[in-house]
Amino acid sequence: MGSILEAMRGALSLIASGDATLAGIVLLSLKVSLSAVFFATLLALPLGAAIAVTRFPGRRALIVLLNALMGLPPVVVGLVVYLLLSRAGPLGPLGLLFTPPAMVVAQTILILPIIAALCRQAVEDAWIEYEEQLRSLGAEGMRAALTIVWDIRYSLLTAVLAGLGRACAEVGAVIIVGGNIDGVTRVMTTTIALETSKGDLPLALSLGIVLILLVLLLNAGAYFIKEAAQRRYG
């Protein structure tokens, strides 16, 4: 118990001091995960919506696959991206391995299925309500899909937040493709893992606190945006 309290005290004073290393790690984490969310959202929303409103052979199998990919293990994604980006890999010449962009790529792949699968479900539910009206107006296929995505955009925030949560929380993918290099690719989760094993509990714990607070803050912001929009647009 004493060691927890001690670690907590250390953590709080570290956060209060505005430690530069700590700030750098937090900032890089945010940059990597928010970039991944941005790219994944850009790809996943049209993909999920398209699957929701079109009918084609193999659609069911694709939906099951997409849902299953929500549980993609981060270390496996990390490994695959590592193989692709390593010197001998097909994308090796890009020289991205052990850089933040590699981490963005890995996290994008990790959360894309989450956002796409949740978006697919949301759009499919909405499609029941909109289908006749949109088809009557002449909006079909991708056009109709994107209309619905835009119309339920505040509900889709939840899907995006699920992706963000996953990106912020995972260690496996970023540690493999980033390498946890001090000052270059060290993010909150990889630092927590490292410092805990080294025994520097105050730093690990303070990062843990910051991580939870940030996730809470982002979710609160999104929730209020959604509330306000619902009041305004019905």
Binding site: E129, Y130, E132, Q133, L134, R135, S136, L137, G138, A139, R143, T147, D151, I152, R232, Y233, G234
Partner: protein
Amino acid sequence: MILPLRLDQLAFAAGGREIIAPLTLELGDGASSVILGANGAGKSVLMRLMHGLLAPTSGRVAWSDADAQRVRRQQAMVFQRPVMLRRSALANVVYALEIAGIPAAERKTRAREALKEVGLHGLANRPARVLSGGEQQRLALARAWALHPEVLFLDEPTASLDPSATREIEAVIRAFDAGGTKIVMATHNLAQARRLGDEVLFLHRGRLVERTPVETFFRQPSSAEAAAFIKGELPWV
């Protein structure tokens, strides 16, 4: 001109159950056609088949114009419960015009004219989903109005509205009629059929039992089913 509309041995079944029995019919321009019948008679399904929202199980829906795009553009449908997008009333009409391929420069002007026509110009910037049921239905009519369709399908447009909202909707439907739009409306409200219709298509269990001018239909229906329906709906007559 996409009219006349010819239905040729048109039939529709779902889950092994016949919903519309083979039906042959021609609808020309001019007279407003009211599709009457009890709940489950197939009114909505028939209109959706005509409008192209459902594909017939057998038979054909043939418009006099062979160009599918023109046929689509020349018809509009107003549903019992309108579905509005989460944007302003004006933007909802503009969206319909955009889908219909109207040049961007014209959309706003046309949309405003349409809102004025249905008496919603004061609410143009209000989010459509927070409008009342009657206002949303008028907005649905404005959305159709802006498209200047040759044919307007209406599926029980006032079924969930109060009398004053119903009057406003009926006034707009009359304006469509006066403007030369062919009205095809499903209803089970006999008074409304009488007020708005020129002819009645009476459906009974998926079969077109009779087609009669509206006055004759109420005075002297030619089928026993229609007589029973009128008696059931207006037992005091």
